[in-house]
Symmetry: C2
Subunit: 386 residues, 2 copies
DNA sequence: ACATTAGTTTATTCATCAAATCAATTGAAA
DNA sequence: TTTCAATTGATTTGATGAATAAACTAATGT
C-alpha cells in the first residue's frame, strides 16, 4: 500500500527533477523550479542530493544577456551502464550502453540449438564485451528481450525455443549483482519507439515478422494484461472459419499478414521453395505482378488489423515495424488510405524509425528507467548503423 | 504537473482512509491504522477531519472479548446524493441514490424525438423526482449515460440522436450547481460491474444490444483512448470482405453478433418482419430449430469476439451483458468451450449480474467517486427489481 | 489489580514554502 | 574607467504542516 509520507514526496519530487534534467538535456535549477512549480529552495536541496549521489553533474553555464548566468545541470550519463540482450530465434544480440542510449557497442552470436544452459551463454557473452570501467555504479541493469510471453519476470511461453522453467533472471542477477528485466520483444519495441521517437500517451506498435505482436502503451505505461498476454494480436481472428493456425484457431491475423505467410503465398505463386524477403523485394522493385499482388495483400490485411486496433484501443498513434515498412516506408500511407470506416477520426499511422534496433533500444530504456526511477523517459535517437 | 507537497500527503492519506472506511462498511481507527500501515495518531487526526466534514460518522462500538471496545466508523451515506440519467434511444432513465448506491429511486420517460432542448428536459425530469432533503451537501454530482462517443465531457458522436454541439454538462452544472459527468454507456457498465460485482484490475465488459460496445478497465481505471473511441469493438472486422456495415467497413463484428443482426437473421429464416427478442426466446425455449441455429451463431460469433479480446487485452475477466446472457446465463460456458486457441490460459468469462442496471449503477459510482475523491470504490450490489 | 486493546497527546523530524539574502552579470550613468 | 542600479540565479533562514514514535489516558474483561 502506497501511503503518503515525507519520503514519498521527496521520492516524487526527486524523480520529477531527474526526469526534467534528462528530458531537457541541460537545464538550470531556476528553470527546473519554474517548470515543476516548486520553489528554488526545494530544487537546490534536491539537486544537491542528486549531485552527491553522482547522478547529476554541473556542465558549465549558459549564455544569457541579463543577470547572473545559470549553472547548467545534466545527467551524469557515465554514472553506470546498462545492457540489453535480444534473444532471437537465430541470433542473440547484445547492446551495451551508457545511461542515455549513446555510446553503444553491439555484439551478436548464433542462438545455440540447446538453450538449457542459456544463463552461462549469456554470462560468457557479456563478459566477452568491452564494458565501461571506473564508473561510480558500473552495471546497473540487464534487460532480456524474449520472443514469448513473460509473467512475473519469467518466461511462461515461448514458441521458438524452450526457456520455460529456467530462472534466467535470478541466475544473471546473482552473477552480475544487478537487476535483470525480462520482457517480450514487441513490448520492448514500443518502449523504444516511445522513448526515442514518438512520445505519446497511448501507442500501438505492430511488429510484423514471422508472427505478429503488438506492444501497447496506455497512459504512458506499458500494458501487459493479466498474465502478460496482452498484444498477442497475431492470434485475433479476422476471418470466420479462415485459415488454420497452429494455435488452434481458424482465421488468425498472422495467417494472413505475417511476413512468413505472405512470403509463403508468394513462393506458391512462383512454384518455388521458400522465397526470402530479399528475393521478393527485388522482384517487386522490378515490377513483378505477383510481388505486386502480395504487396496489395499486405496493405489490405494490415488495414484490417489497423482498423481493429483503432476501434479497440483508439491510440494516439499506430506504428508499424516490418520488413515491408523498412524498405517501403510510404506503404503506411496506402494502409491509411485503405481504411474504410468513417467512424475513425484521423490518427497517425507511421512506419517505425528505429526498425530492427527498437528492441535493443527499448531494453536499454527499461534498465535505465529501473535504475533512475524515472517514469517518463525521453531520449534522442542515435542510429546504430550511422 | 503533480508535485509532492504536504497537501498531497494529506490528500493521499485522507482518500485512503475514506476508501478503507467505505470498502469495509464499518471499521475502527485502530484497524484502519493497521490496514494502511499508518500510525494511530495520523488516523485519528484524519478521521477527525472527515467527521468535521460530515463525511464519516461513528456508529457505536464493536463486540470484542478483550480490551477497550473499538468505535466503528462508517461513511455518512446520507451526506448528499447523486443522480445518473441514462439517455437511451427510446427511454430516458433517471436514478437518484445516496452515497453508497442504496436507497435508490427510479423514474423513466420517453426520449423526445427532438433532443435540441435536452437540457431543459433533463432539468424537468430531475425536479419532478423525490430528492432527499436536509442533507449537508445535497446534490453532489450528476452522470449522464450517452449512447455515443464522449471527448472532453462533450458528445462528439452519437449515432441514434443528435446531441453533438450541445453543451449539456455546462447547462446542468449552472442550474444545479453540481458537477456533471458525461460518459459512454458501455463505459458506465464496466464501472458498475467493477464497483458492485467484479473487483479486478483489468476488465473487458461486452455490451451487446443494437450495437456492440466494450467497456475497458486497465489498472483499475477506465480506459477511453485518445479521443474516447476505445472499445468501439462492434466495428472491429472479423470477416475479410464480409457483410457491409453502415460505418463503411465490411465484416464488422456487430454485423454478426449484435442482437439486432441475429434477430434480423432469425426473421429472415421465419420469413416474417422484425421478430423481437421475446418472440425469439419463446421459440428457443419451445425447441425451435431455427432459434437454436441463431443461438449457436451467437455462441460462435461471441467466441470469436472473446478470443480477440483475450488476445488483444488479456484482461483478468470478460463480462458479457446482453439479452442472451440475461435469459440464458449458462451461455457463457458454451462461449468459453467454443474458444479454440490453446494459447489462451484460463480466464473467467461470466454473464453480467447487474444486467440492465449496470449503466445507472455505474453512473452513480462515477458521481460518488468524483465527490469523495476515492480511486477504487467497492460497493455492495442492491438489486433494483428486488 | 492487571492485562489488553482503543484512542489521544506530545515532542521530534523532515520536506516544503516564502522571504530574505548572497552571487554574478549587464549596462547605463557619472 | 568606475560605479551602481537592475536583473536573474542560487542559497540561507525561519515557519508550517503532516507524519512518527513513544508516552499517556480510556475502557473493558478476568
Amino acid at each position: 500500500m502506497v501511503t503518503g509520507s515525507k519520503e514519498l514526496i521527496r521520492d516524487i519530487n526527486m524523480n520529477l527533477v531527474l526526469e526534467t534534467i534528462i528530458n531537457n538535456t541541460a537545464i538550470s535549477r531556476a528553470a527546473i523550479a519554474k517548470h515543476l512549480g516548486l520553489t528554488k529552495a526545494t530544487i537546490s536541496a534536491i539537486v544537491q542530493e542528486l549531485i552527491n549521489k553522482k547522478l547529476v553533474i554541473e556542465i558549465g553555464s549558459d549564455d544569457t544577456n541579463l543577470g547572473r548566468k545559470p549553472i547548467l545541470l545534466s545527467l551524469h550519463k557515465k554514472a553506470g551502464f546498462v545492457i540489453c540482450i535480444d534473444i532471437g530465434v537465430d541470433t542473440i544480440s547484445a547492446l551495451v550502453s551508457d545511461l542515455i542510449g549513446e555510446d553503444c557497442s553491439l555484439k551478436q552470436i548464433k542462438t545455440p540449438k540447446n538453450t538449457s544452459n542459456i544463463v552461462s551463454v549469456l554470462i560468457d557473452l557479456i563478459e566477452s564485451m568491452k564494458l565501461p570501467k571506473d564508473t561510480p555504479y558500473d552495471l546497473v541493469g540487464i534487460t532480456l528481450g524474449i520472443h514469448g510471453v513473460i509473467a512475473n519476470n519469467q518466461v511462461s511461453f515461448a514458441p521458438y525455443y524452450n526457456l520455460s522453467g529456467i530462472n534466467i533472471a535470478e541466475g544473471l542477477e546473482s552473477h552480475f549483482n544487478a537487476p535483470v528485466y525480462l520482457e517480450n520483444e514487441a513490448n520492448l519495441s514500443v518502449i523504444g519507439e516511445k522513448t526515442f521517437q514518438y512520445d505519446y500517451a497511448n501507442i500501438a506498435n505492430i511488429s510484423v515478422h514471422s508472427g505478429i505482436g503488438l506492444g501497447i502503451i496506455v497512459n504512458h505505461q506499458l500494458y501487459t494484461g493479466y498474465n502478460g498476454r496482452a498484444g498477442e494480436f497475431g492470434h485475433t481472428i479476422i476471418e470466420i472459419d479462415g485459415r488454420q493456425c497452429p494455435c488452434g484457431n481458424q482465421g488468425c491475423f498472422e495467417q494472413y499478414a505475417s511476413e512468413r505467410n505472405l512470403l509463403r503465398e508468394y513462393s506458391k505463386m512462383k512454384n518455388t521453395e521458400e522465397q526470402n524477403f530479399e528475393q521478393f523485394r527485388a522482384a517487386y522493385e522490378a515490377g513483378d505482378p505477383d510481388a505486386n499482388k502480395i504487396m496489395d495483400d499486405f496493405v489490405k490485411y494490415m488495414s484490417i488489423g489497423v482498423n481493429n486496433i483503432l476501434n479497440a484501443y483508439n491510440p494516439d498513434i499506430v506504428i508499424i515495424n516490418s520488413s515491408f515498412t523498412i524498405f517501403f516506408p510510404h506503404i503506411t500511407e496506402k494502409i491509411e488510405a485503405a481504411l474504410t470506416s468513417r467512424m475513425n477520426s484521423y490518427i497517425r499511422i507511421v512506419p517505425s524509425v528505429l526498425q530492427d534496433t527498437s528492441i535493443l533500444l527499448g531494453g536499454i530504456c527499461v534498465a535505465i528507467k529501473g535504475f533512475l526511477g524515472v517514469d517518463n523517459l525521453k531520449l534522442n535517437h542515435i542510429d546504430l548503423r550511422g
